[in-house]
Symmetry: C2
Subunit: 150 residues, 2 copies
DNA sequence: CTCCATTACTAAGCCTGCTGAATAACTACA
DNA sequence: TGTAGTTATTCAGCAGGCTTAGTAATGGAG
């Protein structure tokens, strides 16, 4: 009769847990005018400028979604985009100084915010298996998704 | 240099995994004109009619979000709402015959869709700990959120 | 019995996901 | 060269999260 979260299917638990963690992040981010999705982009750009499509594939979101997120980051002055000279279809996205600064401020938090989470190798391994099994890195499409096992 | 998902913070992995699983669900649901959020509501209503607020707390979403989801379910004919006679602020939500039918069709899928997921007691336990630590059941607010440990 | 705090829900608006469909630029091939 | 196909991005629109700000009904205190 009692309908607690305890007897929910695992997929649903996954969604709720992810939402709660993200929400906690939001509280820390909003005072910098930054979103969780934006933080991910700034993090990815740490290694240098990237095109929109590359960013999208890295974050496992569609190009459309990434386009809008980058738009917002640009509006807020955290990234700038330039048309790729070699392939004018491409828009290269790079961090501004403000973007690099705000990322540096937030970066340390990733480990401090949920230390138990970061240290749980078991959980990380399981999540990575799920991601590979369900989503799969788009690079090797020859892998059968049935080879999971967990 | 290579920026794969492997070295992402755990919270981010959680979000990606949840999104991928939900997306897989969506494919199976859309042909019935049902959303993932809607399925959760129909599931919760399996035990009988519930008010909007109760549904929201059960799903760990805000009352506003639940209001809209119920609105969509009602539009599609899967639930009906009636004003509670005893407390006219409340709107009781109950499944229609169509709602009960479509839920029955989908219900079995919960276990079949990702069998490995459902059987991983380890993962379930970890997710429940996260949910309790970060979100916490609103019922016992006396529990200190520091008592996690994973 | 009246007044006020609380509770349940609604309204408006923002952000991030998605899909489907268009456009522009590049590439390959005849 | 020219044309067809692929790839990168954008546009439009829907759903579901969230927040802040109302409104209406309840219920308790004086």
């Amino acid at each position: 009769m009692r309908d607690t979260v305890d007897d929910w299917p695992t997929g649903r638990l996954l969604a709720v847990a992810a939402r709660l963690v993200e929400q906690r992040w939001r509280e820390a981010l909003e005072e910098r005018g930054l979103s969780y999705a934006g933080l991910i982009v700034l993090h990815t750009l740490d290694a240098g400028g990237r095109s929109l499509g590359v960013l999208a594939r890295a974050a496992h979101v569609t190009a459309q979604t990434m386009g809008r997120t980058v738009e917002h980051l640009e509006r807020d002055g955290y990234v700038r985009t330039v048309v790729d000279a070699g392939d004018r279809r491409r828009r290269l996205v790079e961090r501004t100084d403000a973007g690099a600064r705000v990322f540096a401020e937030m970066h340390g938090l990733e480990a401090r915010m949920f230390p138990e989470l970061e240290q749980s190798e078991q959980l990380r391994a399981t999540l990575l298996e799920i991601i590979r099994a369900v989503g799969g890195d788009p690079q090797p499409p020859a892998v059968t998704p049935d080879s999971l096992g967990l």
